[in-house]
Amino acid sequence: MSVFTKKDFVSDQDVRWCPGCGDYAILAQVQKILPELGVPRENFVFVSGIGCSSRFPYYVNTYGVHSIHGRAPAVATGIKMTRPELSVWIVTGDGDALSIGGNHLIHILRRNLDVNILLFNNRIYGLTKGQYSPTSEVGKLTKSTPQGSVDHPFDPIALALGAGASFVARSIDVETKHLQHVLKRAHAHRGAAFIEILQNCNVFNDGAFDALTDKASKSEHTVVLEHGKPLVFGADRTRGVRLRSDLRPEVVTLGTGVGEDELLVYDETNPMHAQIAASLQGPSFPTAIGVFTAVERTCYEDDAQRQVAEAQRRTPPDLQALLMRGDTWTIS
């Protein structure tokens, strides 16, 4: 296998996102880690739906399918079932994955195909020029909601957990190192790896994640989940998340009679921890980023392939015999 570099993963197509769009940063991180995964370039397939985010495959010089709105998980399922050796990546948006494509998303998660799902959550429909999305906050003023949106949004993490996902994570477009790390973890995970990537749409929803990305405020507004480590955050790492007796989280300040040992020590294999981390929501709580859940579960395509192999072992394929099955009679 030849050694690839980032530029081998840059396609010859002009990138057509708006200048300043968060998608650029995500593209760069993906292109950066791909050569490091030990997978031959020709074995990568990027599958997307429709949306700004879903233009992604055009820009990555691997195999790719820019499919239809919401349906990338279905297409990816057929690819992965047919060719389990391929490394299949789904790129999707909050509209693509959670509005029209919500059902395919939850089904691929429950089936646990070994694919990586990157959901670019900009909390807006970018490509169609700025309608609110299922992740937009209540009261969002957009072209389609001039008096403010009234629907309670999905929390993509909670939804993925509810669907039984075996790997659930969150990162941020501009957190390049963190994003790379999470991408690699997703690749390493056997099973459906779901990553919500908070992404700034600087044209239609600029600054949606400013609190989490501004140098000044970000350490107060994010907490990084690390397996086996307590939930500590803050510029000087003096704040932490503790569980109350009613199982609800609370933010505490360390030192003021509160020790690190009272904080929740994160266990990414514990589903209750994932629920607690998912429930951390601003402004009173820092937003959690990192790996919420990573548990082992058999992959759909492995089991499906095993059945094929088993059937072949039990009954060697004989087409003529198949056609002749049952009662036959011969006219001569």
């Binding site: 399918v65 349906r71 057929g78 690819i79 079932m81 059937a311």
Partner: protein, 623 residues
């Protein structure tokens, strides 16, 4: 004394053909009875055609009209094309079965009923106010009431079975009576019983069957037995096959002949589910079945599988076909091979799921936005489903295009004797994945077929992207250039139109020109063919052509239509093929339409044709 088969055998008369229907409650095992009678008949060397008729409900309340299940068989010493218009024999296991089916029994036909089933309770459930066995309303038929339940019970009495278990053997008693009446070979039926049942049920059903045979032999109600001579049938090995099974096998054979895995993405729906069931049980043939969350995911996964290099198919019926439209459009835009099978049922909307119809042809043609042409094939008979499924895969692969294959509920569940093809004689389906990176362009087309190359992931140096946005005519990159779009739209259309070059010439049954051409497609084949034969026998210059390629049409079709004074198009819809041929060839074809969830009777078509010809003569004499 049912056990002592005494006295001289009764006389045997010969019949050319017989139409028989077994009808009873859905719990009465009528499908089994019919199938076994059919198998025995096939082994007896008759030509035959069958028509099962299931109730719409899963388990309708016992004894109700909604719960009636029936199985019809037409067998003959000459060619048979349909299950028959009218019944010569009706076996009715209860009042509801009688009421639901009597209308189809010809005057003077034989009516066998289980007399004991005609209790007040059952009569009420069937909506009878008085017992038809007693009120002379059946005077026009040859009624043979038998105490089937009592006789079966007697035959099984020392087996220690529950009354319920005994009751469930009644169907084999009836089968025995009919097997005697039509001198069917009993061996295959008895063998099947031994194979199928376990423990004392083998003995029980054998006894019931034999009791039925003995009853026939002894009863005065049936003074003669009948025989139907062997038909002259092309040599070969045959089996009975339903359309759905044939469809499944056709796909397996095609994938095997292509040397590729077969991938089915599907969502259950009546009457298509059995193709999924069949294929799910054939994984040893490298068959991968994916029961998807819906029809969209079913076709989406199939398209992914095609991209990855499998022979990809999806199966559904009308309601699900709507949902596949968008992905079908993507498939034809990215030009990947994929077969979409629509096993039509009565619509619109949920309609009548268990009933047949041919009303999805225009949707197959036009049911997508934009200019989105796809080849359309349609099977004519249950066995033909095998060949058309195979052909659909061949065309899809050769032309890098999705193909729509149409069958329907009548073909799906109906069966016919099928000459089993020799695997060696099935043509290979060549699959050539492109692997050479020199001068590679994803949309560089084969000059003859206009197909683009099939390049699968895992091929080094050929990495490329496909998608639904309009593409550059060569590179496949996104292009909004106006002239490029027009070129692509026309190329896609030309590619499909070009398939006509290998559509076989239209077979005509009858004179090459004449007064009338009956033009059909799909499951009306048998009725039209039989009607044509009758008309020809009347000395009329009538021919029948049956289209298995609906898009593109065979290249000889226009000329062919022009050689007949009239073109009549019988369809189980309000006129769909007729619209296509009128628009294409500007011929004044007229439709003959029936939309009742069931096939044409031969007589209906023949009568309509006669009327048309009479009018023609009238017009002429008036002119």
């Amino acid at each position: 004394m049912p056990d002592s088969v005494s006295a001289a055998p009764k006389p045997i008369e010969t019949r050319e053909s017989v139409v028989i229907r077994f009808a009873g409650d859905s719990g009465d095992g009528m499908q089994v009875t019919g199938t076994q009678f059919t198998n025995a008949t096939a082994l007896a060397g008759n030509d035959l055609a069958t028509l099962p008729d299931f109730p719409a409900e899963i388990r309708a309340p016992a004894g109700t009209l909604a719960g009636v299940s029936a199985f019809q068989l037409n067998f003959s010493s000459s060619d048979i094309f349909t299950p028959g218009d009218e019944l010569d024999v009706l076996v009715a296991m209860n009042p509801a079965a009688l009421r639901a089916n009597l209308g189809d029994l010809r005057p003077g036909g034989l009516l066998v009923v289980d007399r004991e089933g005609f209790t007040e309770h059952n009569l009420t459930k069937a909506g009878y106010e008085t017992n038809p066995l007693e009120n002379h309303s059946l005077a026009g038929y040859r009624v043979v009431p038998i105490d089937i339940t009592r006789l079966t019970t007697a035959a099984l009495k020392d087996l220690g079975l529950s009354a319920r278990a005994v009751f469930r053997c009644r169907n084999f008693f009836s089968l025995g009576v009919m097997a005697w009446l039509y001198t069917r070979p009993t061996e295959p039926i008895e063998n099947w019983i031994r194979h199928r049942f376990k423990g004392e049920l083998v003995e029980a059903n054998l006894r019931a069957f034999r009791a039925g045979l003995a009853f026939g032999e002894n009863t005065e109600l049936l003074p003669v037995a009948y025989q139907v001579q062997r038909a002259v049938i092309a040599p070969g090995t045959y089996r009975n096959i339903t359309g759905n099974l044939a469809t499944a096998l056709g796909f397996v054979a095609a994938a095997q002949k292509a040397g590729r895995p077969l991938f089915l993405g599907s969502y259950p729906i009546t009457p298509a589910s059995d193709v999924l069931h069949e294929l799910a049980a054939l994984k040893q043939f490298d068959v991968h079945t994916f029961q998807a969350e819906d029809e969209i995911a079913g076709i989406g996964a199939a398209l992914g599988a095609a991209f990855a290099g499998a022979i990809a198919i999806t199966t559904t019926s009308g309601p699900g076909m709507n949902l596949k439209a968008e992905t079908l459009g993507l498939a034809l835009a990215i030009e990947l091979p994929l077969v979409v099978t629509d096993i039509q049922r009565a619509g619109p909307s949920t309609g009548m799921p268990t009933k047949t119809e041919q009303a999805d042809l225009l949707m197959a043609m036009y049911g997508r936005h934009g200019e989105a042409p796809v080849p359309i094939l349609a099977a004519a008979t249950p066995g033909d489903c095998f060949h058309m499924a195979f052909e659909a895969v061949r065309i899809a692969v050769k032309y890098m295009t999705p193909v729509v294959l149409l069958t329907d509920g009548y073909l799906a569940n109906g069966s016919e004797p099928w000459p089993i093809p020799s695997v060696d004689q099935l043509a290979d389906i060549p699959v050539r994945f492109r692997t050479d990176p020199t001068s590679f362009y994803p949309y560089l087309r084969d000059e003859e077929t206009l197909a683009r190359p099939w390049v699968i992931p895992g091929t080094p140096g050929l990495e490329h992207r496909v998608g639904g946005l309009e593409k550059d005519v060569l590179t496949g990159n996104v292009s909004y250039a106006p002239a490029n779009h027009e070129q692509m739209v026309r190329l896609r259309a030309r590619k499909i139109a070009g398939i006509a070059r290998e559509v076989p010439p239209t077979e005509v049954f009858g004179p090459p020109d004449g007064e009338l051409l009956l033009l059909g497609w799909g499951s009306t084949y048998g009725s039209i063919r039989e009607a044509t034969r009758q008309l020809q026998n009347e000395g009329l210059r009538v021919a029948h052509a049956h289209l298995r390629y609906l898009n593109p049409f065979p290249s000889d079709l226009g000329a062919l239509l022009g050689r007949y004074r009239r073109v009549l198009v019988p369809e189980i819809n309000l006129g769909q093929l007729v619209r296509l041929v009128r628009a294409e060839f500007l011929v004044p074809a007229v439709g003959f339409n029936k939309v009742q969830g069931r096939p044409f009777k031969v007589s209906e078509i023949a009568e309509r044709a006669r009327k048309l010809l009479r009018n023609e003569r009238l017009e002429e004499s008036a002119a």
